[in-house]
């Protein structure tokens, strides 16, 4: 009697549902495996060390998890999500399938958008850390703006890519980005042009060393012994006065090596 009921139940449910159920179970297993695998791979390639100290990692730690765990979980859910769609397809549920097909197209994009966003936030934090580390020796309070600017630039790019991924119209934001990049490149170039030209000449001077420390040279109306040369300037000393000559001047005016 009992045995008969189970067989009846088995018979009433169509085979395709059983297949769908099987697909679902395999999907859960695969998702779990992906999660474990992703976590190990991320650890192995040194992600935890690379993102140590970033704000995102700290926040994640506060909630008792870590960035690696979050990323691994997302990857796991992604695989599981694919399995769900496969199951729906196998079960051939018509009215559901129509709805899910639309979602299925969208979900991978959403998935990548989230990954890009997390990556962008991490990268931004890291860039901020690196830049502020670079400027730590410089005791100038205003310099604190630079790391923040670098950080938010990276955030902005990440948000832009993520929005582009899910298909939101980002035209206006891209125009803004273009204006920003233009401002940095153009105005930066304008502001640094003397340094740039001095640096270019300095590279030549340092590589070829037409004159070196100890030589007596004349640049324009400055004449003296070269005391020091670096990428941007040459120190020329005469009678206790040390002239700091920009390297670009050495090129535009030419120099004379005094041999006597």
């Amino acid at each position: 009697m009992q045995r008969g009921t189970i067989r009846e139940v088995l018979a009433t449910v169509p085979l395709r549902f059983w297949l769908a159920f099987g697909t679902l179970v395999v999907g859960v297993a695969l998702g779990w495996l992906t999660r474990l695998l992703a976590r190990r791979v991320l650890r192995r390639i040194g992600v935890p060390d690379a993102i140590e100290g970033t704000a995102f990692e700290r926040t994640a730690r506060e909630f008792g998890t870590s960035t690696v765990d979050i990323l691994a979980a997302i990857a796991g859910y992604f695989v599981f999500g694919i399995a769900v769609f496969a199951a729906v397809a196998v079960a051939e549920i018509q009215y559901v399938a129509q709805f899910w097909n639309a979602v299925a197209g969208f979900l991978p994009q959403l998935f990548f958008a989230v990954i890009v966003l997390i990556f962008g936030v991490l990268l931004g934090d890291k860039v901020e850390l690196v830049v502020s580390e670079r400027f730590r020796g410089l005791k100038l309070p205003q310099v604190g703006v630079l790391p923040l600017m670098a950080k938010y630039s990276v955030f902005y790019l990440a948000v832009l890519i993520a929005l582009g991924q899910v298909g939101v119209a980002t035209g206006a934001l891209i125009v803004l980005l273009a204006a920003y990049v233009f401002a940095i490149v153009f105005l930066g170039g304008l502001a640094c042009r003397h340094l740039l030209s001095a640096g270019a000449v300095g590279a030549y001077l340092l590589l070829n060393q037409p004159y070196t420390i100890g030589d007596e040279i004349r640049v324009g109306d400055v004449r003296g012994i070269v005391q020091e040369m670096d990428l941007f300037v040459t120190h020329v000393e005469a009678d206790g006065e040390e002239y700091v000559v920009p390297n670009s001047k050495v090129f535009t005016e030419g120099f004379v090596r005094v041999r006597s």
């Binding site: 420390i213 100890g214 007596e216 012994i225 070269v226 005391q227 670096d230 120190h235 000393e237």
Partner: protein, 271 residues
Amino acid sequence: MATLRDSLGDFVDGVDGLFLFSPSAAYYERFADADVPRVVVADENDVGAESFVELPLEFDNVRDRLRFGVEGAMEHGFVAAGDTVACVISVFEGGGDADSLVRVRVDEAMRSGIYDLFTDSRAEPGVIRDVFEVAIDLGKKGQKGKPVGALFVVGDAGKVMNKSRPLSYNPFEKSHVHVGDPIVNVMLKEFSRLDGAFIVSDSGKIVSAYRYLEPSAEGVDIPKGLGARHMAGGAITRDTNAIAIVLSESDGMVRAFKGGTLILEIDPEGY
């Protein structure tokens, strides 16, 4: 009945300043209520002291360390000639905080120029420290187990180059090696086999090796018994604004000259 505490109390009676050499933060705070100004002498101001003298080298010789601290404080105006200060300093290694109290009377005669050597030379203090470290390292290890000598002329490189001539091809020509670069110790160790002086610029660039110095040796006052290397090093500092750091081949000491006089003597074995 005078206890030991009462008798030794004389040591800190009427002092005008308290010098703490490389104190820990907790040790520094212990003196927060002291009624005399505190001066910290350390390699880094990590206790946030108001009066601070930077120690470029952890001088093994306690006298040198004291001198450096007191001269630095005089230079900064923390103390003046005529003051009496108490110095809390560590003589032996590894004892945690300081183990000795020294009462020092500050006066102009104390000035040996040791502070001046580091901070008021043409070359940057960091460069001078790096050259000292290279010389000490060279003195400790020698070359292939044998003691070596070396002569570094630091700062005012243009003038020094004009007061010297090459003994052979300059191995550092068209190179951009700075003292303090990681590979430099090995490089200098190899080149120390060559005779002649190393010339280092104000910013630490090694300009040349193999230089024969040609200063006029008049009026150079260096102790008798030191050889030609010291004489050449001492003399060039009289003729130019450079300083000379000499590693002696015979007794292994590192000596520094400025303005033609011997300023500092360091035994590499102590580091």
